[in-house]
């Protein structure tokens, strides 16, 4: 938006800066022509008002030609052409005005006076145009850096917020209490299994706490984490849950933001297995490509079985976290087939936002 007339304060500022310029010009005109100051103002003041308009309007031209987008020589060339053209138009208008003065006042001096100050006006016009352009560029760059600052602040806020929600999402109370219920039964019916589940749950909780403070985790650690999660879910869901976990060995050493895999698997459990009675298979594949990791999670999906209609909240939070870590280089593709639900996640192996 045009900045100078945005508020009365700015308008006052423009007037304050321009007034000395007008006075200077009037003094110069009066000394060159021998007219009194007041009479010289009759020619100079209106003419300078028009010049102010020209100087202000060059703002739009400056905005379309920013130094970081275009070649500097190119800009100087174009601005020079603009300066000459605008000054030419201004001079013509001022000349017409002086003719007008002669006509209406029935004198024959104003046009002559104009010819006397023609060179002064031409030089002043071009000088003022460049000065104005310089000021415009200064203000534009100031605005830009302020915007960038604000953007950075917003990004940081967003990052910390989604980090917080990632922490909260790490341990779902539902998962925890249902697991403890199952565990309480197992301690009496099969202590051996209870022991195993206890250890798995401990691993899961430990990872959730330790990695909540870390920025990166290896695929191997992430995989161990979801294995302990799925181990506990398997105890609860029994035959309803079959697992097909397929991780490329070369991918194991790669780094990921912690809790990148868990939301994918939780989503699959929630919508694929807790919503259906029939047994099904959860597939997890991690492939390593030269520049990226491809993570695929597939689960059965019964459209009619969905009692809750909020799939993908966890996925949305994950996407936000990955965007914070990698910029726009991650892809999260969700596809719903007739009977299955596939989430594909592509993560770049370079270009982390450190």
């Amino acid at each position: 938006m045009f900045p100078y007339l945005r508020s009365p304060k700015n308008f006052l500022l423009v007037t304050l800066i321009w007034s000395p310029v007008v006075i200077c010009m009037t003094v110069l005109v009066s000394s060159l022509t021998g007219l009194s100051f007041a009479t010289a103002a009759l020619l100079a003041a209106p003419s300078m008002l028009v010049e102010l308009f020209f100087c202000l309007s060059s703002w739009y031209l400056c905005k379309t030609m920013l130094p970081e987008q275009k070649n500097i020589v190119n800009i100087i060339l174009k601005q020079s052409i603009a300066a000459i053209t605008m000054t030419g138009v201004w001079l013509l208008l001022t000349m017409a005005y002086s003719e007008g003065l002669d006509f209406f006042l029935n004198t024959r001096i104003w046009r002559m006076r104009f010819d006397q100050v023609f060179i002064l006006f031409a030089v002043a016009g071009i000088f003022l145009y460049f000065l104005a352009a310089l000021i415009h560029y200064l203000i534009l760059s100031l605005e830009k850096s302020r915007e960038a600052e604000q953007q950075a602040l917003e990004n940081r806020l967003l990052a910390s917020r989604s980090e917080l929600s990632s922490l909260r999402a790490t341990i779902h109370p539902h998962f925890l209490f249902n697991s403890l219920t199952a565990l309480s039964t197992l301690t009496k019916t099969s202590p051996e299994l209870a022991h195993k589940v206890c250890l798995q749950l401990a691993d899961f909780l430990r990872y959730s706490m330790v990695y909540a403070r870390k920025e990166w985790a290896s695929v191997k650690d992430e995989f161990e984490h979801i294995k302990s999660y799925l181990g506990v879910e398997k105890i609860r869901l029994g035959e309803r849950l079959n697992l097909d976990l397929n991780i490329n060995e070369q991918a194991m050493a790669e780094q990921l933001p912690p809790f990148s895999l868990l939301p994918l698997v939780e989503n699959a459990i929630k919508h694929g297995f807790q919503q259906t009675i029939e047994p099904g298979t959860l597939t997890l594949q991690i492939e390593k490509y030269p520049n990226s990791l491809l993570i695929l999670v597939k689960n059965p999906w019964d459209k009619t079985a969905q009692t809750q209609t909020s799939p993908g909240f966890g996925l949305k939070a994950l996407k936000q976290r990955l965007t914070n870590a990698y910029g726009d280089n991650t892809k999260l593709i969700i596809s719903q087939g007739e009977n299955d639900f596939i989430v594909k996640l592509e993560i770049p192996l370079e270009g982390k936002n450190e």
Partner: protein, 247 residues
Amino acid sequence: MNKKRAIIIDDEYLARKALRMILDGFKEIEIVGECSDGFEAVKAIKEKKPDLVFLDIQMPKLDGFDVLELLGKDAPLIVFVTAYDDYALQAFETHALDYLLKPVKPERMAKTLDRVKERFPGKNRQPVAKLLQQHRLKEVPHKRILVRDRGNIYIIPTEDIIYIEAQDDYVCIYTANKSSLKNDTLANLEKMLDPQKFYRIHRSYILNIDYLSTIEPYTKDSRIAILKNGKTLPVSRSGYSRLVKLL
């Protein structure tokens, strides 16, 4: 001693087992059945007519609330069981219904069973009805309608519904290949369905406009709607003005 007959409903085997082990310590309770999903539950409750049901809220396909809706007036005394559900707990509190948190403690179970004795027989029907009413309006529009018909349970996706007709205490829901009766009112269904799609074209009819073909004048004051399957329905004057506003 007059034992109370109870059914446990939970989709997880170990959770059912946990409740059973605790209830084994209470002589006044006899467990007459266990169900792992809502379909089984509705059937078992109808057949066995238990005095008391321990009902898990989160279950596949039909959750605890769905089971209650399908049981309607057949619902026995219900004790809700949940691991963690802010919304449900709040609802139970407001309507003064019994609930248990998983994992269930024997002392808490004792308290619940004491309360059950006081309330017997079946005084919690009214609060349950209110709870259901509130629950049904929570997620509007509904994507499916549940119907119990001669022992069978049908889940009708709302997009399959062509029109609904009021019939005394029931509504009849018509889809392409069948019609099902549901013990409910047209006004209730109107509130549950998507108002962009379902229109009350007449005191006794709600129409899914996806299935509407044309509307033609019938008598001086009334019109008829011709559906894509050739069926015709009466359109009242107020129903017509509602439709016109949309189309």
